[in-house]
């Protein structure tokens, strides 16, 4: 089971995603794959806030880049939260030697591995493409790359949730136009 959860800043994405993992993993240990690297006080505060709200039943795996290796460490059939893809995308573009193609392929193989081994994988990301975007090539490269990842996730996921003010809107199960 793969679930894609996204929304705007402070829309309640992480809460919705955590509840989703809890529901899907029952009493089994849950895994939290953190893509954030703690590099300053503000980031430490954000990480602490999220950790405190998650509670102790979560095992944290850090993966600023190697989300495939982190998912490989999760035992078969366990609930896993990957938070968040937006940050991972920026680290692929600006803190790695990976090409955009290689980054996309890495996400695809991670999803495939999760699917094959029966993980309940919930992936969190930010919607940043409904704004008047700055008119520079680098911003557009980032948005295009992130949207490519979102496309892949939305296509692969069993459930796609848009979060608005803590409320989840299901996108994948709705009837498509004829």
């Amino acid at each position: 089971m793969i679930v894609f959860v996204s929304g705007g800043a402070r829309s309640g994405k992480s809460d919705v995603a955590e509840q989703c993992v809890k529901r899907l993993s029952a009493d089994k240990p849950r895994y939290y794959i953190a893509t954030a690297s703690v590099y300053d006080g503000e980031m430490a505060e954000r990480v602490a806030r999220h950790q405190a709200s998650r509670g102790a039943q979560w095992q944290t795996l850090e993966a600023p880049l190697a989300i495939d290796q982190a998912v490989a460490q999760v035992p078969d059939g366990h609930g896993t939260l990957l938070d968040c893809l937006t940050l991972w995308a920026s680290q692929v573009l600006y803190a790695s030697e990976l090409s955009e193609e290689a980054g996309t392929a890495l996400l695809a193989s991670t999803l495939h591995d999760a699917r094959v081994r029966g993980l309940s994988l919930v992936v969190v990301s930010n919607d940043i493409n409904e704004d008047l975007l700055p008119d520079n090539a680098e911003t557009w490269r980032y948005v295009a790359f992130l949207q490519r990842l979102h496309y892949l996730l939305a296509a692969e996921a069993d459930s796609v949730l848009e979060v608005v003010a803590g409320c989840a809107i299901e996108w994948k199960l709705v009837k498509e136009p004829q």
Binding site: D131, L132, L133, W140, Q147, H150, Y151, L153
Partner: protein, 145 residues
């Protein structure tokens, strides 16, 4: 008329192309009125009108009166819809969602955001169906407001 709206790289083009594979695509030309798209109408062939944001952005310095611009495209939307019906052609308009960010510092960027939003509302008001495109997925908006 059917309206497709979504953010940057949300998959609007693919969504429309998949549903209207035979369509003629008409990209709006800066300086021309919306009704110019009627030139792209071929009997029985769907017409897709694209490039609204760039069209607005390119003409923003020439636009003196935003309200007058709005009245013009409202009128053109009606005429274009009617022309499509007369030609037995489905009409599709694609617009960008750009209104979910912080208020821009530049006056013209704020105007552009307003114009784009008004255009989307006006097109939606005359649409039989509005589709919201997000990450390659499509949702019908009921528009019952």
């Amino acid at each position: 008329m059917q309206l497709f709206i979504g953010g940057a790289r949300a998959g609007k083009h693919d969504a429309v192309a998949a549903r209207f594979p035979q369509a003629t695509w008409w990209r709006l030309t800066p300086g021309q009125r919306l009704i110019s798209a009627a030139d792209g109408l071929v009997g029985g062939t769907p017409l897709v009108v694209d490039g609204v944001f760039d069209w607005l952005a390119a003409s923003i310095d020439q636009l003196q009166d935003d309200d007058e611009a709005r009245r013009q495209w409202q009128d053109d939307l009606q005429r274009l819809t009617h022309a499509a019906q007369t030609n037995d052609a489905a009409l599709v308009i694609i617009v960008n969602e750009i209104g979910r960010g912080i208020v821009p510092m530049e006056r013209n960027e704020r105007r552009l955001r307003d114009l784009n939003g008004w255009f989307s509302q006006d097109a939606a008001a005359q649409a039989e169906q509005v589709w919201y495109v997000r990450h390659g997925l499509v949702m019908a908006l009921d528009g019952q407001n």
